[in-house]
């Protein structure tokens, strides 16, 4: 039996976080406006408290273990020693990238490097930007991710120290992907970090941003990340989030995207690591003509849990969203897909497609899939579908009947299930890396040989 989140435990833990805020508030610092926002945020957090399984959105997510562990804010703990070689497994071979590394939410200059970027493009630690240009950030930072009704966004807003700031000016194309690598580590005490990212895309600009989350067992860590994204008119942004923390890691991440006119945004969320991972992606079309691709793959084993909550807000008319999430669950792992699409009254000519498919590799694995569509406009094309199943035994037999052994046949079919999502990764070295990672997570997957 898993422990149940009790209200009492949740209240005690809440008070600890509130007290930690009081004792680190001075050190967290930031410009005046931000201090005010932090105060407001911790107030909302205190009022909201941690969600229990009685909350509809948290029905399948048990936070008891997370709340029992006395996580210390990274600002109060000692940073672990991370050296460049530790990061090799989390990079992408031949891929040329600018790379910002954050250890427990703090920028690590010695592990980071910037390649030459087009004029006006800024890739910098948020803390530095807050010192240098607080008024630039005031217009955007904390303006997209709402903390009023989300305790984890509220916590992040209260506590964040650092993260990545990416700004691509009007009409500028950044050819090489920008890699943001977040490492969580803890030496003695369990550590909680609250990285905060802001990505601003000027009109007609283009870029690719990769967020990786990494860590190692037996470090017990909690990452509570928030990323705010604002693609301007006609901007094109490809975003990848790759979760590769250890199974001793807790990870809650929120991404809020406000798309301007004719912008094109694609997000690919690949969850392979972490003990308890919850991704919440909230996108909003604030002007017509936008297009959105929301892809996700969660591949869990053992006792892992991976939740994906998505919310797509079609506020403006004539926008298109295509969402595809696939889950592969083995062992006693659990997964949740909960996708909500809202088509508002004025969002005529909306096209929205949502698909969630799940493959259960063991009898003990569990997944809850809840697709959702709420349509208030009348001239729209929308559909959604959800499936949960096992490997097709006819397909297994077909492969075996050609000489392929049973284990390899099952591996090939499991890999193929993930391929729909992975094949949409446009950056070849990232795609190849993901292929390798997926294959390595198959039972005896190394025997699969070359890329399929």
């Amino acid at each position: 039996m898993r422990p149940v989140t009790t209200v009492a435990a949740s209240v005690d833990t809440k008070q600890t976080y509130v007290a930690d805020f009081a004792s680190s508030e001075r050190e967290l610092g930031g410009p005046e406006w931000l201090r005010a926002v932090r105060k407001k945020a911790i107030g909302h957090f205190e009022a909201l408290g941690f969600p229990t399984q009685k909350h509809e959105q948290w029905k399948f997510t048990n936070l008891a273990t997370l709340l029992r562990i006395p996580f210390k804010p990274a600002i109060l703990g000692r940073p672990g020693g991370v050296v460049a070689e530790n990061l090799d497994p989390f990079t992408f071979g031949v891929l040329k990238t600018s790379q910002l590394v954050f250890v427990n939410g703090r920028y690590a200059p010695r592990l980071s490097y910037l390649r030459s970027l087009p004029e006006g493009v800024r890739v910098a630690p948020l803390a530095e930007m807050l010192r240098a240009e607080p008024e630039t950030l005031e217009k955007h930072l904390t303006r997209y991710a709402q903390f009023e009704d989300d305790p984890f966004v509220a916590l992040n807003t209260a506590f964040f120290q650092d993260g990545a700031y990416v700004e691509v000016p009007k009409g500028t194309v950044v050819g090489e992907p920008i890699h943001l690598l977040f490492v969580s580590t803890s030496r003695d005490l369990p550590i909680v970090a609250h990285p905060r990212n802001l990505i601003l895309m000027g009109a007609g600009s283009q870029a690719t941003v990769i967020e990786s989350y990494a860590g190692w067992a037996p470090d017990v860590t909690f990452t509570n990340a928030v990323t705010e994204v604002a693609p301007g008119p006609g901007a094109v942004l490809d975003h990848y989030k790759i979760q590769r923390e250890a199974e001793t890691a807790f990870h809650i991440a929120t991404m809020t995207v406000h798309q301007d006119r004719d912008s094109s945004f694609s997000a690919h969320s690949i969850s392979l690591g972490g003990g308890l991972v919850r991704n919440y992606v909230h996108t909003l079309f604030r002007a017509p003509g936008g297009s959105l691709t929301l892809n996700g793959l969660y591949m869990t084993a053992g006792n892992q849990q991976a939740d994906n909550y998505t919310r797509i807000d079609h506020v403006a008319p004539a926008c298109t969203s295509v969402e595809l999430y696939r889950g592969i669950l083995g062992g006693r792992s659990r997964g949740v897909f909960n996708g909500n699409i809202y088509v508002r009254k004025d969002a005529q000519k909306t096209v929205a497609r949502q698909t969630n498919k799940n493959l259960l590799l063991s009898k003990e694995a569990f997944v809850d899939s809840t697709p959702g569509l709420e349509i208030l406009a009348d001239d729209v094309k929308c559909n959604h579908s959800s499936t949960i199943g096992q490997l097709d035994e006819n397909a297994v037999f077909y492969l075996r009947s050609r000489g392929i052994d049973e284990e390899a046949a099952r591996n090939i079919l499991t890999y193929a299930f993930a391929a729909d999502v992975v094949n949409q990764v446009k950056v070849a070295p990232v795609r190849i890396k993901l292929d390798q990672l997926i294959v390595s997570r198959l039972p005896r997957g190394a025997g699969l040989g070359e890329t399929l």
Binding site: F397, Y398, R400, S401, R402, G403, I412, A419
Partner: protein
């Protein structure tokens, strides 16, 4: 090459094959014909090793080895190939990857090295030409979105690449238009050889107009009731299965659960 003796098979608790005897030598093409539900597909599937088919009696030897004791993959590696009546669509696995994996699994079983990438390409090109398959086909998902005709061509194409000793063709003509039928039949005929045997399972005679069998067996209610040469197939086409049913005293029906 293949020696089937008194083979009894149940599917979902119901006896479908009720004592099959059949010997096939290298170089021979045997056709098994019969009305719907006579057990033709069961015979093909049980030779390929589908687990949902329960062998309740008899035996089948392939080159002296106990075929029924082998796993499906080992049967394939020993040289048994079944062309499926309904080939499975597997998106995400390309035809090229699949075929190379199969070919190498078979080679490895025989202690041979993996095929060289260039050799594989030229092998595949030759065989694809034989079946009129274009180059893009190898990159597509396995049978993904293929028409009925393309799927059947792909089965015969795989057979041509894997070069089995025994080819079992399960209703390979079903769903083919006349042009596709000719192409498929040409592919099959190109594989006839003194060292290879074929078992062609079919409801209709039309495939046998192109792939002329050496022997024809009529399967009725789980038993071979008549055997002959290619003329027997032509007679069946002309007169249907009725006359055979009349000619053959039917065994009393076993009580069904």
């Amino acid at each position: 090459m293949l020696e089937i003796k008194d083979l009894h098979v149940k599917v979902a608790g119901k006896e479908i094959l009720k004592g099959i005897d059949l010997s096939i030598n290298a170089g021979e093409v045997h056709a098994v014909m019969g009305p719907n539900g006579s057990g033709k597909t069961t015979l093909a599937q049980v030779l390929a090793g589908r687990v949902t088919y329960e062998v309740t009696g008899g035996r089948a030897r392939f080159e002296g080895k106990d075929l029924l004791a082998m796993k499906p993959e080992d049967r394939a590696r020993e040289g048994v190939f079944m062309a499926f009546q309904y080939p499975v669509e597997i998106p995400g696995v390309s035809n090229a990857y699949f075929l190379k994996a199969a070919l190498n699994a078979i080679r490895k079983y025989h202690g041979r090295e993996e095929i060289d990438a260039m050799d594989f390409v030229s092998l595949v090109q030759d065989k694809a030409k034989l079946l009129g398959l274009d180059e893009t086909f190898m990159k597509r998902g396995l049978n993904e979105g293929f028409s009925g005709g393309e799927k059947k061509k792909n089965e015969v194409f795989q057979m041509a690449v894997l070069e089995p000793k025994l080819c079992v063709l399960d209703e390979t003509d079903s769903g083919l238009d006349i042009d596709a039928l000719r192409v498929v039949a040409n592919g099959i005929n190109a594989m006839r050889s003194p060292t290879r045997a074929m078992l062609v399972v079919t409801h209709y005679q039309r495939l046998l107009d192109y792939v002329i069998p050496d022997f024809v067996h009529v399967l009725v209610d789980g038993k071979i009731v008549k055997s002959g040469d290619a003329d027997l197939a032509r007679n069946l086409e002309k007169h249907g299965y009725g006359w055979i049913l009349e000619e053959t005293p039917r065994p009393p029906q076993a009580a069904r659960a």
